[in-house]
Symmetry: D2
Subunit: 352 residues, 4 copies
Amino acid sequence: MIRFESDYLEGAHPQVLEALVKTNAEQAPGYSEDVYCERAREMIRARFEAPSAAVHFLVGGTQVNAVMIRAILRPHQGVLCAVSGHINAHETGAIEAGGHKVLALPSEDGKITAAAVQAYYDAHWADGSHEHIVQPGMVYISNPTENGTLYTKQELQELYKTCFALGLPLYIDGARLGYGIMAGGDTPAPADYTKYCDAFTIGGTKVGALFGEALVINNHTLAKDFRYLIKQSGGLLAKGRLLGVQFCALMEDDLYFKIAAEADRLALRLRDGFQACGYSMLFESVTNQQYPVLPDALLARLDEKYTYCYWQRVDESHSAVRFCASPFTREEDVDALLADVASLTKNIEAAI
Amino acid sequence: MIRFESDYLEGAHPQVLEALVKTNAEQAPGYSEDVYCERAREMIRARFEAPSAAVHFLVGGTQVNAVMIRAILRPHQGVLCAVSGHINAHETGAIEAGGHKVLALPSEDGKITAAAVQAYYDAHWADGSHEHIVQPGMVYISNPTENGTLYTKQELQELYKTCFALGLPLYIDGARLGYGIMAGGDTPAPADYTKYCDAFTIGGTKVGALFGEALVINNHTLAKDFRYLIKQSGGLLAKGRLLGVQFCALMEDDLYFKIAAEADRLALRLRDGFQACGYSMLFESVTNQQYPVLPDALLARLDEKYTYCYWQRVDESHSAVRFCASPFTREEDVDALLADVASLTKNIEAAI
Amino acid sequence: MIRFESDYLEGAHPQVLEALVKTNAEQAPGYSEDVYCERAREMIRARFEAPSAAVHFLVGGTQVNAVMIRAILRPHQGVLCAVSGHINAHETGAIEAGGHKVLALPSEDGKITAAAVQAYYDAHWADGSHEHIVQPGMVYISNPTENGTLYTKQELQELYKTCFALGLPLYIDGARLGYGIMAGGDTPAPADYTKYCDAFTIGGTKVGALFGEALVINNHTLAKDFRYLIKQSGGLLAKGRLLGVQFCALMEDDLYFKIAAEADRLALRLRDGFQACGYSMLFESVTNQQYPVLPDALLARLDEKYTYCYWQRVDESHSAVRFCASPFTREEDVDALLADVASLTKNIEAAI
Amino acid sequence: MIRFESDYLEGAHPQVLEALVKTNAEQAPGYSEDVYCERAREMIRARFEAPSAAVHFLVGGTQVNAVMIRAILRPHQGVLCAVSGHINAHETGAIEAGGHKVLALPSEDGKITAAAVQAYYDAHWADGSHEHIVQPGMVYISNPTENGTLYTKQELQELYKTCFALGLPLYIDGARLGYGIMAGGDTPAPADYTKYCDAFTIGGTKVGALFGEALVINNHTLAKDFRYLIKQSGGLLAKGRLLGVQFCALMEDDLYFKIAAEADRLALRLRDGFQACGYSMLFESVTNQQYPVLPDALLARLDEKYTYCYWQRVDESHSAVRFCASPFTREEDVDALLADVASLTKNIEAAI
């Protein structure tokens, strides 16, 4: 089987793996207090133009989201996010387990707007019973979103301006940050993440690492005692240098961004190929996740050779599915898939 | 001012107060282990035909909801309820503070259906990623609902049948239970609450008590060690006999139900009076809360003599508001209000 | 039976009850936003010389402790307290249920010292692994303590000075505050509670109210959005005016303090009586709770007419027990008990 | 520097690393649903003679402890453990963050006895106020303990017998399980962990893995829906196969146990060497952690070449410290250290 269902099907990018192998026998203090972690912090600060940001390394995305949100909110506050936001939809209630309500805003494309945040805030404070209602305490977005869509730089600026004015910290889940940054157009650049939010993550797991997310906290108020919180949540890796070594390798010579650019390119080939066969896309994704709407008959045939992620039923005979490009995706596999889609599509049409 | 904004504006029904005064100097063990609590438990078991149910007394509604739900759910489970459900909308995230997500179902009338519960459950278990999603673990309804509407006996039966089949305990928030039971028609009777749910509350605060909610747990599995949970949540009243004395008074000679019936009657007089003046109602309430849609011009004039609860804007010049009848509502105040509404309506119409 | 086991065996002091009866039919807004609560807040501010303190009313002690502590601590912090502290020993883990560890300090007399707090703090920060350990984030004391002992004014000053210097808010659980204030000697006066802590409670339940604790927050930083937290914890009483009315009555003409002084006087009569018969006291209590160490043979005889609270076994034939004086304790019952103790003691001695 | 301060200073055992490298480019489903995890589960079931146990893989020890304990306890329950237990002392309150009190039992050697558990349980249920106290709900031990000591097979049997009789699940934190199993004497064997507890972990991080703990749940009741709980706690690794691959390598040809045996051997050489120089040990450890009590003067000299973990001050001029042997510890480094200790000791003695 050729697998396209997600971007975490393989291990680490060869250069990342090589770095782990090379440093394997070295002795280093535990809990991310080693030289590799320190070097990776410096490289991230330099690349994101964030000379004074706090940088922490955690193992996984649900973990880092839960810790950061728990650090920001007071007990009576909740976190605003799109209804499709990962923390609302796919983390088994990790935020609620930490005591906080996720305040889900309607969203078609996986994004939320400055205006929607402002409106929710205003409605809360205008309500005579607001003390009986969870207070909005921060805003969570993911970029790219769970739909593969992207905030433009201007949208991000506006959102942050509103959040700042309202006293709501803005946190960006960058589980696929690299794929967003390399998507081109009016996309936020690395330094924009330093300027236009209070904290964000640089996802490693889905962009070439074995595992690991770097958390960058721009707002120092939110960084106090942060290692206690990481430890309490079970997120302080004993052999923390594994995270440092990997992020050094990813930041070295912009490997992280090169990996992402290549996967984006292959994903857009997939998109274009599906569209060339006359298929529409569920979301207007410009990143490594693509969501074609396909006939069930076609999917049944593709199942013989390929894997993808089932997303949702669209109508009686069509479904939206997700195909991902990853750091390991090969050009020839994309070729093969698109060739099969084209020929199968003809057969299916002929059969009708 | 004549106040109609809620049903907890006054103290206790005179007979309840008298019972408190009469027993005030008696000595009794604390924490609801006194003879009054025991007697009240027996009276409730008898009246609701629940000879073996566990009965506990707590001070307030948010408290009892939070404790019961926390007792039922495992950490990864959430509680299904209508989007307008009190636990979702007006308890400042008490359920999330206990670690659980509220799984809000769309609802126009404040109710949820057996079919909606079944569909949510089926969708959860059909989702290949269900372990990444909060598992539905129980169902919460309020009866009457926050909109003043009522489940019919048949709706309740169907809902419970579905819940039972799916292994989801059904809990009914009866903050205004009496007003529901006395609303007539095909409304559930006391014994139906024993038959068709796992636990329910008999709200005292809004039906004649100074304060207090009786929690009736029909399903013994859910009752284990329950007093520990009440204590932990700060709900175990030191002078617990206050709750026992009040519920004895309320159950004596069906006082609880008589109070409710009379308030229902006055509320329906309000409804009929508003409708007679040509006003529509936001919800089809048959209980002590009524939600007329009124011209803002009329409300501005009513503000001089009456209070009500602002509910929501309906259009540019109309708002929905809530008028409540309580155990203290007087016929003459209803007369006065309706007379004013009628004459003000004429003036406003004439002015147009 | 004549009951001495606790100070919450009866209802409200007659003047408190009368105030409730008198105001029963009045209409007032809910949730402690009424004129009685406002008046009670002013009376408390005046009496405790705390013109700008925030004052809230909650129903019970476990509830108010849990809310205040949750408001103060960040997730990785714990609360220092004596091992015998109520939050550590008798609240079924309410603090842990809110996510925080209780950091129990050894204590013989129920008190903790400035030196012990300083030492714990220093040891924490000196530990190379302190990020792996719960950080001390505040200090809880009760005054009087659970043993009936009292901090002197000087001890309180020193403790607060240390807490202030270390950045640890000091919270005083005053469930029996009145009994402490009226105990005489070098005891803190009302205004001292305003000066020497960040927040404290004025316990009503055990000093003449039906129920209710006033929470006084001297440190405004800790008071932000506090009503949200109360609501979330199920502590915002719908008919909040019940708390206001009661505290008005208690503050009126110093009733609260007069009640406490009288109970202290009767408790000291008990102490003196027991000592006159040759019995020692487990703790050096100067307040309304007394802990004589008595022969089991004597207790067996007292059981026929009196109740008390069993505390702990002292040796093979002796136990420590608790006798409380309450606002309802009658001089003649104290006379009777002491007479019986004296005569029974003689019989027992004769029998040996 | 030659480092002895812990057993997580290096990367993975070469055979483990090789397995990761070899499988790196393979595609596999995420979240531990791959063939490597399945194979590792089977190998563990076979080696521990637990054919029907549930086996899960998590990244770290604090995480797995928190999840397992949260899965077992109801809200009002706490976990009994030695005061020195990792969950009580060094997990920054992770258990309390999950809502539960750690009920710490006194312990000199890091172990708790069946008798102590029985006594605590009996005292709880004998207390008339037990509903006001956290209920003991399970027992946690670590084996080896944090002191390097070990339960004998008989001690474990007795403890489990008591736990079973009292209805308290017994959970064993095996962060260093291998070092215990290979310590010889009357130590529990692998199959004993299957027979004499409800759940236990097989620590990988400290015994040759890059990271990873296997959780074995013998009691099926506790295993229900467990993957939801892992996901909620942020413990479900996206590239879960990394855990499977590592545990396959560790179980292959008993590598895990061979690694542990060798480190135990070197640690005992350290112990014997220190003792030969006349030094006593703080704890009677028979595993890979050794705690000599050394003169500060000696430590000052050792600091020039070696690292160790400072444990506690013993007297004015002596400290207890921890030296660990790890899967990477070399015989020549042990030789060097012991030679230096011997010669430095002579110098110090001569200097006196």
